[in-house]
Structures are given as structure tokens and as C-alpha cells.
Amino acid sequence: MARQAAVLAAVALLPGVGEAVYFRNNISWRSAIAPSEMVTVDQARAWGDTAIWVDARPEDEFARDHVPAGKRPAACGRKRNSLRCSCSKAVGKRG
């Protein structure tokens, strides 16, 4: 039984690795933020007033610390720990 399980586990690795290669540009292995949604602090500063920062964190977190020009149009809703919330948290930390 253990041998059978090991064979299946090994076989499933192949398409898993293939998919990881295929999706390499869609997901970051270092943080929960997709590479396409990440901007550097310098980029953000360069955008100046032309960018509107949307902060979707809960109100208490927003009150504690947020991007100076940050707007608060929406809460995270039921999925407080969603990818979108993580993104806005990271944006808030970077200032």
C-alpha cells in the first residue's frame, strides 16, 4: 500500500512541476502578491497624484496606518484574508 501511494505521489509531481513552470509569471513564490500587482515605492512615488490608492483593509487597521493619499472605498468583506486584502496590506506597509 505504501509503495502504491509513493508511486502515485511521484507521478503527480510531473504535471505539478509542469504547471508551476507554465504559471511562473502569474504567481510569486516569495509573497502572496502576484508579480503583476507589485509596484516599487519609487514607482508609486513617481505616479504621484495620478494614482488612486485603494485600501481594502478593515477600518481599525486603516486608522492605525495607511498611505497618506489612500482612499477607503471598500472593506475586505467575508474573505478578510483574501489575496486582494494581502495586496492592500503590503501597499499600506510600504507607504
Partner: protein, 157 residues
Amino acid sequence: MLNVELATAAPGSNIKNRTSKIIWRILDFVLAGIFIYAGALKAIDPVQFASDIDNYKILPWPVSVALAFYLPWLEIFCALALVFRFLYRGALSILMLLIVTFTLATIAAKIRGLDITCGCFGHVSQHWSFPSHLATNLAILASLLALGISNRLRKPL
């Protein structure tokens, strides 16, 4: 006298045995269908599944990503093993391990007050309540256990 009784009893018992084997095979196919469906939904959108795993706040992000690429395929291959009865017991044990792990993680998340979706069946399971998750997982686990026990008692079809 004994020979006559055996001769009359044999066809009935044979039919019963065959019916029981067919029922177990149907259960094989139903469970395989569930896991292929669940695996395919997650394999199509591994980014969302990685986020779903990360929401449990148990594993570091890189591990969540690795599992998001790997687990759907493991589910699919184990389901195919149930259909073709190839590496059958190994597949059953892996599926049981997966379902127990998912169930424990869901319970742990509930205890810690995390309001999350399990990601088990993609967007279909997004609005399931905690009792629905638990009931589904336990029903699947019970079916897998039944298949495991019946497989020990019967010969291949």
C-alpha cells in the same frame, strides 16, 4: 440433500455478490468523479488555490504555492486509480489522508475564528457553511473507509 441445497443456494448468493460488487464500483466512480472535479477546478486556477491554502494561516506562502500546483494533480491521479482499479489501495490511503488533513485544517481555522473558504471545490464551495463543509468531508471519508474495508473482503470484479 446437502448438494441440492448448495445448488439452489449458489445462484442467489452469486447474484447478491455481483450486485454488491456493482454497488461498490458505483461508489468508486462517484468518489472518483468528485475528486476529478475538485482537482480539475483547482488545477485550472492554482493561483486562487494557493491563496485559499494561505488563508488557513498554517503554512508559509512558498509551501502553499507548491501544494497548489501539486495537490490537484495528486487528487486527479488518485481518482483515476479508483476508476481503473490500478494502485487502488495506495490511492484510497492518499485520498483518506487528504480528506482528513482538509477536515482538520477546516476545524482548526474555525476554532481560530478565521472566516475562510476551504477551496475544496473552487467557487462552488465558496458560500458553504462550516457544517456543510464538515458533513461533506465526513461523508467522503466514510465512503473511502467503506471502500477500503470492502476491498479487503472482496476479490476484484
